[in-house]
């Protein structure tokens, strides 16, 4: 008794969900689980309902189990078949929960009829594998020659595809050479036959190969989705155009080939240019060349004429006149330059003269100093150089006095020191 009370109290601490709250929570758990999002499920349709062409509700089941499924109108409008009771299908979808009923369900995004679905998956798988290997890389794409002379064709020996291709090739370029390898393109062993035919043509000197066939069911076109065909296309040294089925059919051969054409007819158009257009183009170029050359010559003729008509030829002395004028102009300019130089020199010279004047002893003598020299005109700078009775010459600014030394006395203070 005691024990269960404790349990109850413990329980009361825990969160209590409402029903819808719980359903919301479980829904979020399911949606978070990557393993069950975007899954492929195979099963048989039962209990199929499609009211007013809107959402589709059904059950997917196998021998022992079933799952509620829905495909909303936004997705089911792209279906190319009408699902029906008992149909074996392959569905891609997300696992979710329908909250009002607490029911888990598959929300279908894509649906295919059983066998076709398997083929589709195989196609996707191979496409991814070859793509990762780089077989679709642009760097491996060979250029389709602009003007092939030999076109190889791998297709069924009879049928509209071949007829259409031959007709179009002929219409566009009547003298093209065509090498046809009639090949079984559908059914058991057709992939090997296509590979053989590609190799055969590749070993011949052929400019471009078209492989293809007319429209058909996905099973009919299937050999062009086979790995060995893809590898043979990739290995071939001759450029290959893949043209399988209709515009909406994309086969592995389309991705690995050097070019894809939406239909065999389009392949023929892609491979061979229209001869008459090319001829026209060449003729246009020829006309252009001729016109251009004529214009050029006419142009030179005009130039020559305008030269002959020019004043130079009429009055050749004009040339000399011009030259003289130019010479005169230069001489004048030279003169102006020289004058400027002379002015500058004169100014400089006068400046120097003034500075020199300031240094001359004459200025000092004007203030009362004089220069004493002996008879030999040597300047006397000390009493030691003079004896009594010596004749001295005293120079003043305006003349010279001759004097006789009567007495020589040494200064107490030596001024020189």
């Amino acid at each position: 008794m005691e024990q269960s009370k404790i349990d109850k109290e413990k329980d009361l601490d825990q969160k209590i969900y409402s029903v819808s709250g719980l359903n919301h929570y479980v829904k979020s758990l399911l949606e978070r689980e990557n393993e069950i999002q975007d899954v492929w499920v195979r099963g048989e349709i039962s209990n199929f309902k499609h009211h007013n062409g809107r959402h589709m509700y059904f059950v997917l089941k196998d021998d022992t189990s079933e799952i509620n499924s829905v495909m909303f109108s936004s997705k089911n409008r792209d279906l190319d078949f009408e699902p029906e009771e008992g149909m074996e299908v392959l569905c891609r979808g997300d696992i979710g929960l329908y909250i009002p009923r607490g029911q888990y369900q598959l929300v279908v995004k894509e649906m295919m009829v059983g066998g076709i679905g398997e083929l589709y998956l195989a196609y996707e798988k191979l496409k991814e594998k070859l793509s990762e290997e780089g077989l679709f890389g642009d760097e491996y794409k060979k250029k389709i020659p602009f003007l092939p002379q030999k076109v190889g064709i791998v297709t069924s020996g009879e049928g509209a595809a071949l007829r259409d291709m031959l007709r179009v090739l002929r219409e566009r370029f009547e003298n093209i050479d065509i090498f046809l390898v009639p090949t079984q393109v559908q059914g058991e062993g057709s992939a090997e036959k296509i590979v053989d035919s590609i190799q055969k043509l590749d070993s011949m000197e052929i400019d471009v190969i078209i492989i293809g066939r007319g429209g058909g069911s996905i099973e009919d076109l299937w050999s062009f989705n086979e790995e060995q065909v893809a590898r043979a296309i990739f290995k071939a040294e001759t450029p290959i155009v893949s043209a399988v089925g209709h515009e909406t059919d994309f086969l592995i051969s389309d991705f690995v080939a050097d070019a894809r054409a939406p239909t065999p007819t389009a392949a023929a158009e892609l491979v061979v240019p229209i001869k008459t257009e090319l001829k026209q183009k060449i003729m246009d170029q020829e006309r252009r060349s001729r016109t251009a050359l004529y214009n050029l010559i006419a142009n030179y003729r005009d130039k020559l004429k305008s030269l002959v008509d020019s004043p130079v030829f009429e009055k050749p002395e004009r040339i000399l006149e011009d030259r003289y004028q130019k010479l005169d102009e230069n001489i004048e300019r030279l003169g102006i330059t020289l004058d400027r130089y002379m002015e500058a020199y004169t100014r400089e010279l006068n400046g120097q003269k003034d500075r020199l004047k300031a240094l001359s002893p004459i200025q000092t003598m004007k203030r009362g100093y004089s220069i004493v020299m002996d008879e030999k005109d040597e300047v006397i700078t000390s009493v030691e150089e003079v004896n009594i009775e010596d004749i001295l010459k005293i120079n003043l600014t305006d003349g010279e006095i001759k004097a006789k030394a009567e007495e020589v006395e040494r200064c107490q203070k030596n001024l020189r020191k």
Binding site: F146, K150, Q285, S289, L293
Partner: protein
């Protein structure tokens, strides 16, 4: 001229498309009207050579249809 055009010795080494492109280049150059006369005539002559070559190329294929059978023999076959 920024891109000087050079004639090549043997036009037969060119593809059809290339030859046509060269022809166009020559024409553009001639149309610009700045080519010395002697050079213009040289270019024109080269152009004629290219035209003849292109025309030849168009007629080169024989227009045969050959069916290559399992036994690797070629059968001429006209539809």
């Amino acid at each position: 001229m920024p891109e000087e055009f050079e004639e090549i010795e043997d036009v037969k080494k060119l593809g059809f498309e290339e030859a046509l492109e060269r022809l166009e280049k020559i024409n553009k150059k001639l149309e610009r009207n700045k080519v010395p006369l002697e050079r213009a005539i040289e270019l024109y002559q080269h152009g004629i050579e290219l035209i003849e070559y292109c025309e030849e190329k168009l007629e080169e294929a024989e227009g045969k249809i050959k069916k290559i059978t399992e036994e690797n023999e070629e059968i001429n076959w006209e539809k």
